[in-house]
């Protein structure tokens, strides 16, 4: 009997066939209801996969909500999946490519349009219009800006908050610096920062951390107060950094570091681990952030702190407001059931349970704010947040599809300004030139 040997060619053919089958299987959409949480499918129930991006400490609250929802709607079975915020976008972009998105997913303002424009999130306007008790008027105006296509809502926001000033009350008192007032100006901010800065080297305490960078907050927090702007809204297709007003404003800000030494250098910032950590470690007396940071401080801070208005500039008082929301994906097999979840989750009661009562703050529904003010986890001056949102906060925050590229391209030159290696006037000229082709992509076709 002739021995049959496996030839190299034959073996490679078999290998390729096995590999090809595996690859095709991997490319196939996930089975409906597949869950990363490993929950068993509930018989006869419609399953909903919901993708969140919570920090681990907030996840139990989410699980509690979902449990209550499943009890309230026994025909539905919600399976939540949580992904660290930094990994969320890439993970769900990949799932979108594979046609395996969950039914409902979290979306931040900065990349909402990426998902909306390319059809990954369905139009929710009909659901909004047909839901008698939804009341779109209850949503703060800035909260709805980033989530529309052709005027129709594709994402329902859950929060929208202004960037405000966190300040260390103990440090102010110890240094004899007067507390911020409703009339505080940018000059008051600088004076306080100078008075609060003390020590040298490793023992140095900085008065303020939060110099401008070419990101979403540059317009409203650093340039509008001087009557200047980085980009035009809502088109985001022109750079205005090389105007005299913008140069004057940026030079004023950069002097915090290079002239007054009241804010960390990039190396010192790296050591502190950023404004949040520096503030929590009492190495920074003031910094700028939204309300979503307050639960961390409530839990961990060993000092007295509060939130206050972003100061008035020579021309105007403005600050950026930003937020996130949830949408139903194109891959959802049960968009009606998905709407049931979104409607309940982002109702007044849902927002009170998730964001207002927990002190996380900035709920998108006006009706949920009172519960936030009463929350033991909210900062003492919590009402300032809503005042800012209702009066001078604007949602002018780089939310077009190429926002990340605009920031990166400008940052390569702005870095040199922060390092003291390039004057502002020279840098803004270069940034304006560099950004032309990137911003041009936002021109109407």
């Amino acid at each position: 009997m002739q021995q049959r040997s496996l030839s190299r060619r034959h073996f490679l053919q078999i290998s390729a066939a096995v590999a090809g089958t595996a690859a095709l299987a991997a490319c196939a959409p996930a089975a409906p209801g597949a869950s990363t949480e490993g929950a068993a499918p509930a018989a006869g129930k419609t399953e909903l996969r919901v993708a969140h991006a919570w920090d681990a400490s907030f996840w139990p609250r989410q699980e509690e909500f979902d449990q209550q929802f499943n009890e309230k709607f026994p025909e539905l079975n919600v399976i939540g999946e949580n992904t660290p915020w930094g990994e969320f976008r890439n993970k769900y972009m990949t799932q979108a490519a594979a046609g395996a998105l969950p039914d409902i997913m979290y979306c931040q303002f900065a990349w909402a349009q990426q998902f909306i424009q390319q059809g990954s999130l369905i139009n929710l306007q009909a659901y909004v219009d047909n839901q008698a008790d939804f009341n779109l008027e209850d949503f703060t105006k800035p909260s709805l800006v980033s989530y529309k296509k052709d005027g129709d809502l594709h994402i329902i926001p859950y929060d929208e908050g202004p960037l405000l000033l966190y300040w260390n009350v103990d440090m102010f008192d110890a240094a004899g610096v007067p507390h911020p007032t409703p009339d505080w100006t940018m000059d008051n901010l600088l004076e306080a920062a100078i008075a609060l800065t003390k020590g040298e080297g490793q023992d140095k305490v900085f008065g303020f951390d939060g110099l401008p960078g070419p990101d979403g907050s540059m317009n409203a927090n650093y340039l509008y107060p001087w009557g200047a702007k980085f980009w035009n809204e809502p088109e985001e297709n022109e750079c205005h950094l090389d105007t005299p007003e913008a140069i004057a404003a940026l030079e004023w800000w950069v002097a915090f570091r290079h002239e007054h030494g009241v804010t960390p250098t990039p190396a010192e910032w790296g050591t502190l681990g950023g404004g949040w950590n520096g503030f929590a470690a009492q190495k920074v007396a003031m910094f700028q952030q939204g309300t979503w940071y307050t639960p961390v401080l409530v839990k961990d801070a060993t000092f007295k702190w509060d939130l206050w208005h972003w100061p008035k500039g020579p021309v105007a008082q403005t600050t950026s407001s930003m937020g996130s929301g949830y949408g139903t994906t194109k891959d959802s097999k049960s968009p009606d059931a998905a709407w049931t979840y979104i409607n309940d989750y982002l109702s007044t009661d849902g927002q009170i349970f998730m964001w207002a009562s927990t002190g996380r703050g900035s709920p998108s529904r006006i009706s949920a704010w009172d519960a936030y003010f009463e929350s033991p986890n909210a900062p003492p001056s919590a009402r300032v947040v809503l005042e800012a949102l209702n009066t001078y906060a604007v949602h002018d925050v780089l939310d077009t599809v190429n926002g990340p590229e605009i920031t990166q391209v400008a940052a390569q030159t702005w870095d040199l300004v922060l390092l003291g290696e390039m004057p502002v006037a020279e840098a803004v000229k270069k940034i304006t030139e560099d950004l032309q082709p990137v911003l041009a992509k936002n021109n109407p076709a």
Binding site: L6, F11, A23, A96, Q408, A411
Partner: protein, 309 residues
């Protein structure tokens, strides 16, 4: 009458056939894995490089447009220059250090095994852990390196936050992982027959002459292997730079290495077509350099049994 010659198959005995089957069986997990998870994506990436593809919408064929844009892209050249700097300085320094350490650890010393373990250990530590560790070592305020420099009266630079020093900092960090090359060198050194040194001694060779005329020629295949492998790895540096510069390749793109730029285009701007074109060009660069190395190797690599098959 026609003579019948035995075919190759007929010439294989039962034992040899069993061995051949076992060979294919054992190699199959790797081969299937390669075809499914590496070969397929490589081909897909090549195809995507001719398209505009943002992941969320179907690819749109562009022909050679991505490659044309690449030629006009300043950051492409910047990333190539940064990477060539890293490879050009880091690889020779790393190989030299690894070779010197291997020679030192090839001596008959007390605690030799302990030293070998200690020097090899860093090369098996995860790249992310190494990056985090070196982030602290290079910290300009609290870092051990600047502290040691201060002991001899030198004020250390701001390393990762300096456009001048960020690349030297990354090269310094890469030297920490030379243990892998060192082990290969050590194995090579231990494979040099003792009689060659004895013959050289009889001919009156001193330490230097023995090193130059025996050690180096006998080690040349090992040096060549390490050179090829290290250059390929160095061109693909990514994770440490990503971690140490917060994913930015800063300051001012001073540490924007090639794969980081590729990642930025693919996973921050979602220009998958352009990122794939970058990947294809990197493949060609590495392929070209490797072919060049093999071509030049004939002039300086000595194989005891003749040319390698």
């Amino acid at each position: 009458m026609q003579a019948t010659l035995p075919t190759r198959r007929q010439g294989i005995g039962k034992m040899a056939l069993r061995e051949e089957r076992a060979f294919w069986l054992f190699i199959s997990p790797w081969l299937i894995g390669f075809l499914a998870f590496t070969g397929g994506p490589i081909l897909a990436s090549l195809g995507i490089s001719f398209t505009e593809y943002s992941i969320l919408s179907p690819p749109r064929f562009l022909g050679l447009e991505n490659y044309r844009q690449l030629v006009e892209d300043d950051l492409f050249y910047k990333s190539v220059i940064n990477t060539v700097y890293f490879v050009g300085v880091g690889v020779p320094l790393g190989l030299l250090l690894a070779f010197m350490m291997a020679i030192a650890l090839n001596q008959k010393l007390r605690g030799q095994t302990w030293f070998r373990t200690i020097f090899y250990l860093p090369s098996v530590v995860s790249g992310i852990a190494v990056a985090l560790l070196w982030g602290w070592l290079l910290n300009s305020d609290y870092g051990l390196i600047n502290y040691m420099l201060s002991l001899v009266g030198i004020q250390g630079p701001q390393w990762l936050f300096s456009t001048t020093w960020v690349m030297p900092a990354l090269i310094l960090m890469s030297l920490w992982g030379v243990g892998g090359s060192m082990v290969v060198f050590l194995a090579g050194l231990q494979g040099i027959p003792e009689h060659l040194y004895e013959a050289a001694e009889i001919d009156g060779a001193g330490q230097w002459a023995k090193f130059w005329n025996v050690t180096i020629p006998m080690m040349s295949p090992v040096i060549f292997f390490n050179l090829v492998v290290t250059i390929i790895g160095a061109f693909q540096i990514f994770d440490q730079v990503y971690i140490m510069t917060n994913g930015r390749g800063g300051p001012a793109n001073a540490s924007l290495v090639y794969v980081l730029y590729l990642y930025r285009n693919g996973f921050e701007y979602f220009k998958m077509g352009y990122a794939s074109a970058l990947a294809s060009v990197l493949f060609l660069i590495i392929l070209g350099i490797t072919i060049f190395q093999f071509a030049v190797a004939r002039r300086w690599v000595y194989y005891e049994g003749g040319e390698p098959k």
